[in-house]
């Protein structure tokens, strides 16, 4: 690791920290636009029978009448010292709430990613080796089809078909193996399309290159050629795409968890959104930003290790075509 690289890495880390902090503040400001919070909402429900005096007393006692900047400062100083605060909706620590649901979302997201990668690989392999007239065109159409189907529709169809009609899984036990698998399929299908598109484009490119022609001339088996020669160089931009899709895995889990009835980060967000539970929303958004930033950092570090053709001269050299230095490495081109 050269000194220049370390300098660059340090700069990147600081930028990442700034982004996470800004995401936290951004969420606070955005959610504060609309008045209301879980506590006031409960007090305002006429079924609960509170008098206006009682409502005012409770709101003052809870510090909800303080100006927004003061509230932001309180929240921010807690965040900086690692305290995520208390959920206003449940009165429990935000960290506990997130720790409870995180494992389920991690399982779903990683299973979704595995499904997406497998599907993408199968489709990409098919486009390279199936006869042109038979099947290839159809396969090449798959990614755009996958991208056109709302993922809640995929989920509903899977539940209807496999849960109720065929009875493969019990819908009310969403954490069972089969239920998780089908949820992962619903989550993974749109994401597989993005990975497949990049994979196909790169395979097309690489297979046109000389060394592949040479390899083919040597009479290598098609599968070996695919794995040994094509998949590896082609996987470089794929890694970048994967890094970019992490955000979509998290975003997609919001709907997938709702459809499949899983308790996870996504369903926590949904419950928090409907009652404007600000501390939880801030924590989840920051967490998503942290994950996104970290994954992209890792993808960048993995880049030079996978492709010997990429030399670590300087940051801009690693990302040709549409390099955007100003926008850090959260954004990057995926063209080889």
């Amino acid at each position: 690791m050269s000194k220049a690289y370390l300098n660059y890495a340090a700069k990147r880390l600081i930028q990442a920290a700034v982004v996470i902090l800004l995401a936290y503040v951004f969420t606070f400001v955005v959610v504060s636009i609309l008045p209301g919070d879980p506590i006031t909402n409960v007090l305002n429900n006429p079924q609960n029978g509170f008098t206006p005096d009682e409502i005012n007393e409770i709101i003052t006692a809870q510090g909800l009448d303080k100006p927004i900047p003061v509230q932001l400062w309180t929240a921010l100083s807690g965040f900086l010292t690692g305290d995520l605060g208390l959920s206003m909706r449940t009165n429990r620590p935000v960290a506990t709430l997130i720790a409870e649901v995180l494992p389920s979302t991690l399982v779903l997201a990683s299973a979704g990613l595995v499904v997406a990668l497998l599907l993408a690989a199968v489709i990409a392999y098919g486009t390279q080796f199936l006869p042109k007239r038979f099947g290839q065109g159809l396969l090449r159409g798959f990614p755009s089809l996958f991208l056109s189907v709302p993922n809640f529709v995929i989920g509903l169809v899977l539940i209807h078909l496999f849960g109720f009609q065929l009875g493969i899984f019990r819908v009310i036990e969403p954490n069972s193996f089969w239920a998780t698998l089908f949820a992962a399929v619903a989550l993974g299908i749109p994401i597989s399309a993005q990975i497949a598109e990049v994979l196909i484009a790169n395979l097309d490119h690489e297979s046109g290159q000389e060394y592949a022609a040479v390899a083919r001339g040597r009479g290598l088996g098609q599968m070996r050629l695919f794995t040994k020669h094509l998949l590896k160089p082609s996987s470089l931009p794929v890694i970048t795409v994967i890094a970019l899709t992490i955000g979509e895995l998290l975003g997609g889990s919001l709907i997938t968890e709702t459809v499949f009835g899983r308790t996870g980060l996504g369903s926590l967000v949904q419950r928090s959104v409907s009652s404007q539970d600000l501390p939880v929303l801030q924590a989840v958004v920051s967490l998503a930003a942290v994950v996104f930033v970290l994954v992209n950092l890792i993808a960048d570090l993995a880049y030079p290790l996978l492709d010997p053709r990429v030399k670590l001269i300087g940051p801009s050299a690693r990302r040709p075509a549409t390099a955007d230095e100003g926008f850090t490495d959260l954004s990057k081109a995926v063209t080889p």
Partner: protein, 282 residues
């Protein structure tokens, strides 16, 4: 979101490009579908005799037939009519989202790329934040903040796309700015605004167009997702996502889910095909 596919440049030879100009039947079909959707949204009354809001309660939950192409819903309303009347809101909200994304994102990218320096740095941090928050989560947070209805869902979807357009616009602007004809224009003493307007903007927007079309299809899906979670207009509105969401409560009558889902998929697929075709023929 297909950043990836958008960025993979077409590697077709000149001959290949010419060949692709010969419009494929799928493109014709796609354009026809999109044209039909536009017609549905402008003059829905021409396509159906039923009332989208007032049904015949006695005719509730009928299966698809010659009279009710997509069957009827739980209040005896013709589902096909509801889909047709829901087109306007579904299509125009996606349009709002794209316009917000393109205009706000394009402007940020244009300014950042053209002026560089501190302008670039400030905008860059803003865009970083927008890109670091998962797009759907961002849309959900924004729509929570501004209130649940379809227009707000469209605005939220637009905001969630600002980062993408800003980034693409910026890199295109930088590329164009460094191109020889622009540099020579600088040397010839053209004003910055003139150069921005005459050279940089048209060149950069050429590559933004297919992306905007793609984003249109994607916005339909995101807005449908928001409507599905109940963040759009309430019934009797009949946005496609809302229809699917209502339909899921009546899984015994599956056409209530499948019919609006099919229309959504057909539209988004057509839009995606057109975007692809635009990119190739560009």
């Amino acid at each position: 979101m297909t950043i990836a596919s958008f960025h993979s440049p077409s590697r077709r030879s000149a001959i290949g490009r010419l060949a692709s100009l010969r419009v494929q039947p799928t493109i014709v079909l796609s354009i026809a579908i999109v044209a039909l959707m536009i017609a549905w949204s402008i003059t829905p009354g021409l396509f159906t005799n039923h009332d989208p809001i007032n049904g015949v309660p006695a005719h509730k939950l009928l299966a698809p037939s010659a009279e009710n192409w997509f069957g009827t819903d739980h209040l005896g309303r013709d589902l096909y009519t509801r889909v047709v009347y829901g087109t306007s809101s579904s299509v125009s909200s996606a349009l709002i989202a794209v316009v917000i994304g393109v205009v706000a994102g394009g402007l940020i990218g244009l300014l950042a790329g053209f002026f560089g320096g501190w302008v670039d740095i400030v905008f860059a941090r803003m865009v970083d934040v927008l890109l670091a928050i998962p797009k759907f989560l961002l849309a959900v947070i924004v729509v929570t903040a501004i209130g649940f209805d379809t227009t707000n869902a469209a605005i939220a979807t637009g905001v969630s796309a600002v980062g993408l357009f800003a980034r693409v616009m910026r890199s295109e602007v930088i590329k164009t700015r460094q191109a020889t004809f622009v540099e020579s224009s600088f040397l010839l003493g053209g004003s910055r605004w003139h150069i921005l307007w005459r050279h940089v903007f048209p060149n950069a927007s050429r590559s933004v167009l297919p992306l905007a079309v793609l984003q249109f299809g994607d916005s339909i899906l995101v807005i449908a997702g928001l409507a599905f979670l109940g963040y759009g207009d309430p019934p009797p509105a009949s946005d496609w996502g809302l229809l699917i969401s209502i339909g899921k409560d009546y899984l015994k009558w599956p056409w209530l889910v499948y019919a609006p889902a099919f229309v959504t998929i057909a539209t988004v697929l057509s839009v995606n095909r057109i975007s692809r075709w635009l990119r190739k023929t560009d």
